[in-house]
């Protein structure tokens, strides 16, 4: 099977509010796939559905041919051991040092001796350039460094699938380039599959093999970064070239200004 993750006819809503509708996506092995779209387009929800943190109302998500089923906790946890997820702000354990954060999944899921765990953790930290920050606490490092520590923790168990939720948000240009470079290198070195949720066009297009564009919970465009750059689709064009107005309106939908000011009601 060439696809590590497959999404078929997926529907998801919070209460009465639809978030995703009739979604079909494929994530081939060994590739970096970017899922892009504006705020509220449903990108993070896709990650949470793949990770089994949410249950869809209809449709299916399969990882390595197995259906993700949040009601079967044992099977879900077994599946998650093959996954890694980087949260938007790192989600480091603030009561632990950088070293202990990276060692956490190793200590939880393996019976490796402490000496070997130490070597593995230092190697992972070396990969993200933070070996010498091992003894620091998360409160003592910058946001960009915290993201890199979280990345080291995410790859601690060499996952087959790595998911990134807005890895570039709030980073300075140097950290952003460094993080993008790391994501691509790690994917290729580990032979894993990467799902990258982001709205940062430049960095995502630099490292992605394929791009899905989401708007209002549906796919509006897909293709390689080069195809997306050349796309004439109004949504993609507005997004890629950061145009202030277009299919994504500047104003939140609702009543017009004239109606709100009562101008239309005057005789």
């Amino acid at each position: 099977m060439s696809n590590l993750v497959e999404i078929r006819d997926l529907h998801f809503r919070y209460g009465e509010r639809p978030i995703l509708s009739a979604l079909d996506m494929e994530f081939p092995r060994g590739k970096v796939i970017a899922v892009m779209g504006g705020s509220g387009s449903g990108k993070t929800t896709v990650l949470r559905l793949i990770g089994g943190q949410l249950t869809p109302q209809a449709g299916s998500v399969t990882v390595k041919g197995e259906r993700v089923d949040p009601s079967n906790v044992r099977a879900l946890y077994a599946m998650r051991r093959k996954m890694g997820m980087l949260f938007q702000h790192g989600a480091l354990f603030t009561d632990m040092s950088v070293f202990d954060n990276v060692a956490f999944p190793l200590r939880e899921h393996t019976d490796l001796p402490e000496e070997l765990i130490r070597d593995l953790v230092l190697m992972k930290l070396h990969t993200v350039g933070l070996r010498n920050a091992a003894e620091l606490k998360p409160s003592e490092i910058s946001g960009g460094m915290a993201r890199r520590v979280a990345l080291a923790r995410t790859i601690a168990l060499d996952p087959e699938l790595i998911m990134y939720d807005e890895p570039f948000a709030g980073l300075d240009p140097i950290s952003m380039g460094m993080t993008a470079n790391l994501i691509r290198k790690l994917n290729d070195a580990l032979g894993s599959t990467t799902i990258l949720v982001s709205h940062d066009v430049q960095e995502s297009f630099l490292i992605a093999d394929y791009v899905y564009f989401l708007s209002k919970g549906a796919i509006v465009a897909q293709g390689t970064p080069a195809e997306m750059m050349a796309s004439a689709d109004p949504y993609v064009k507005q997004f890629v070239h950061a145009e202030p107005d277009g299919p994504v309106p500047f104003h939140y939908p609702g009543k017009s200004l004239a109606e709100d000011l009562g101008l239309g009601a005057r005789p």
């Binding site: 943190q53 946890y77 998650r80 996954m83 890694g84 949260f87 938007q88 989600a91 354990f93 939880e108």
Partner: protein, 258 residues
């Protein structure tokens, strides 16, 4: 009128649903606690943490409660010429009632709020979600060690409260007022029954430990992941835990001493 009835109906339905969910979480915590025997260090770390939070407060409060019991007890007993029974009164009041109850109330305010805020902030910082995505169950890794630490720490803290309280009663009654020291201790020794008084007090503090700690960790786990949500959960911990302790105390007293 219809609106009022609807509101009562909704409140009843929500209360039943919330109680049911809380019972499921408690069951899940207990069920997932087996692995803690293998990694008991997680519990002992929390006992140390919770004990540190509360020990000074409990000891100082116990001393002052002992002072007050010594004074009030002396004034009342003196009217009937029974001031020799002061030691018995202080010890019975503390071991049967005040030790477990006041310790539980102080514990809810000090350690309970800390537990709720800690777990609530872990949730707000996506640490619990990160744990879940690492195939680590937060109920087992975060809630269960804290829950058992509270259950174990509560009787120890209640015993310290009672012991310090008795010492406080001794200082006021014997050292300051002049009640006979021999009578103070011998009446206490003769009148306090290990099984009926001390053990029932220990049993109460274990039940309070289960109630207060579970409420604290549950409120943190269920809190909205926002600053306002964590603040509300912390308040709910104090209110719910305090009322639960007082209600359970009445129930247990009726069952134990009837």
């Amino acid at each position: 009128m219809i609106g009022f009835l609807t509101a009562i109906g909704r409140w009843t339905r929500e209360t039943i649903a919330n109680t049911g969910y809380a019972a499921r979480v408690l069951f899940a915590i207990v069920r997932s606690s087996g692995g803690l025997l293998r990694r008991f260090r997680l519990v002992t770390t929390q006992i140390h943490f919770i004990g540190n939070y509360s020990l000074l407060l409990i000891a100082v409060s116990g001393l002052f409660v002992g002072f007050v019991l010594g004074l009030q007890g002396y004034y009342t007993l003196n009217k009937y010429g029974s001031e020799q029974a002061l030691g018995l009164l202080v010890a019975l009041s503390l071991t049967r009632e005040l030790g477990p109850v006041v310790t539980a109330l102080l514990f809810a305010g000090r350690a309970g709020t800390s537990l709720t805020a800690e777990i609530g902030l872990m949730k707000a910082g996506e640490q619990l979600s990160a744990m879940e995505m690492m195939a680590v169950n937060p109920l087992q890794r975060v809630l269960a060690p804290r829950f058992w630490a509270g259950v174990i720490a509560m009787p120890i803290l209640a015993a310290i409260f009672s012991a310090v309280g008795i010492f406080g009663g001794y200082i006021v009654g014997v050292q300051m007022i002049g009640v006979d020291e021999g009578a103070f201790w011998s009446q206490m020794q003769g009148g306090v029954d290990v099984w009926n008084d001390v053990l029932n007090g220990v049993l109460k503090s274990i039940v309070f430990g289960i109630a207060v700690t579970f409420i604290a960790v549950y409120q943190g786990y269920q809190s909205q992941p926002t600053p306002e949500g964590v603040a509300r959960a912390t308040t709910r911990t104090v209110v719910t835990a305090s009322l639960s302790v007082l209600w359970l105390d009445f129930l247990l007293t009726a069952l134990m001493f009837s």
